[in-house]
Symmetry: C2
Subunit: 304 residues, 2 copies
């Protein structure tokens, strides 16, 4: 089974630093790729890492601050040069289409693929995308401008068949898809073979939540409850609580408090203010509340 | 005396690579900074290099392909966050103002400084900017879209006074500015002291030419004749001459031929196609024609 992974392309905040590009990350789940935010240089990070993005069909933009979307035009332009033909879907607030369309017309008038905008209402928690293996929900966040996070939920996978039992009962191939989905098998003699004798449970579906940018907000807790991995912004140390509140960002302590209260399995922090050259203090602060915190770092791949 | 230097922030071409960001470079001359082109990530490179750009007042954009201007909005936005107050002047084709203005309004509505656009006609060789120490001229180039390079010419500096001679003739301070500019001194007794006994020649003014993007064009030779340093694009090796012609780019051999014919002192090549992982072959090819060729590299500072 392929693991679900998160590749952080940039986990800096508004101003890029020596270490951190602005926000952008690539979620890979069930052989699909989803780009979450696309700050300036997202495509550069991908080429630096040698990440191939031929399975990327959907981009999710949390809000319309430059550090979360200035990389879109460059990325789309590059897709054009690479002769991409598959549709590219962008899920964002409707203003993005108004902003990007004139740029696309000017710089990318001959794109060999369509860019399709899907309007997201950042004030609502709702299903905004699904395919046969993944559902994506918006998570209303609390920021200076309308902003939402995203919850990615893997759909349950088919159960694994137990090959020996299938052979033993001589089950024809055409019955297998239904059995993988949990159906019992009835032999010609009318004997019912319960599904749990024929299959083993599949892996538990993964859940990942992206919450940036946001002030401390307990309203998100029921939505992200128990996720396998939470990326939560931690722009400041807790001694900058006042500044965090003013700018509607979170401190590392607050991010960890959310992780604890939502009982998540792992917390990745990021979106660090440029003032923190050494980010270990942010990690220590978060870990003092929530032990399984990981420091988000650019160009790093995390298991979900 | 402070040297004139060129900092290459990016010398890749349309698609960024592991090594090269898109086009952007910072010219520092006479305590001023000029940004030439501003591809995606220009501000990131500056922060990676720790380059302070508090003396940057003027940006020159060669043409409106994304790899030469997608970094502008991020840079301007960052200037806003840094509370810049000095005017920022952008010299470019008039379309740039039309493209950038809506973005500035949306993302940077409360900038604490003015962004002033100056229209450049890329088809004319003319003076487009000057201050008391530098003149900048456009250089019409040959590309798929209107495009021009830029010639930066330092104005002659004042002559250096010979302190002992000034003391010997007891020349009052108020006369010195004129003497630095070449005036003779007349003593109270009416004796004429020729200027060359009182001063030494200042350093020869530097000239730098930026020529990217362009097909091979001998028309630029009279304009860039004898410059101290020429940055000329070398997108391809000469075995890709056909492709170079189609896309209106130059080969390394062509760049070197221009350098040779224009009798420049030093050639820096750049704007490499992403296909060249190892760029040494491009350098070797150029050096086979023009010995004093230097391989342009990102995040590197060159003396002019």
């Amino acid at each position: 089974m392929q693991k679900a992974t998160l590749t952080i392309l940039g986990c800096g905040s508004a101003m890029p630093t020596r270490k951190n590009f602005p926000s952008s990350q690539l979620l890979e789940i069930r052989d699909k790729q989803f780009l979450i935010d696309c700050g300036e240089g997202a495509q550069i990070r991908m080429s630096q890492m040698g990440v191939k993005i031929n399975r990327l069909g959907h981009i999710f933009i949390s809000h319309l601050h430059g550090d979360h979307c200035f990389g879109l035009i460059g990325l789309i332009s590059t897709f054009g040069m690479l002769n991409r033909t598959a549709e590219l879907h962008i899920h964002a607030q409707p203003d993005l289409e108004k902003i990007l369309s004139p740029l696309l017309q000017y710089f990318c008038s001959d794109l060999p693929f369509s860019v399709i905008f899907h309007s997201v209402n950042p004030r609502k928690h709702e299903l905004i995308y699904e395919d046969r293996s993944v559902s994506v929900y918006s998570i209303p966040l609390k920021h200076r401008v309308p902003c939402c996070g995203f919850l990615f939920e893997e759909k349950p996978r088919d159960r694994h068949i137990i090959r020996e039992m299938i052979d033993f009962y001589n089950i024809p191939t055409w019955r297998i898809p239904k059995i993988k989905q949990g159906e019992d098998f009835i032999t010609e003699e009318g004997e019912v073979i319960p599904n749990n004798q024929l299959t083993k449970a599949s892996d538990v579906p993964k859940r990942f939540a992206y919450c940036s940018d946001t002030a401390y907000s307990e309203k998100i807790i029921p939505i992200i409850q128990g996720v396998d991995c939470l990326y939560h912004e931690a722009t400041f140390m807790d001694d900058e609580q006042v500044r965090a509140k003013q700018t509607e960002h979170s401190t590392a302590l607050q991010a960890a408090t959310i992780a604890l209260k939502a009982n998540v399995k792992k917390l990745i922090i990021g979106h660090y203010s440029a003032r923190y050259i050494n980010q270990t203090a942010l990690l220590n602060e978060a870990q003092s509340i929530f032990k399984n915190t990981v420091l988000g770092e650019d160009m790093t791949i995390y298991d979900i």
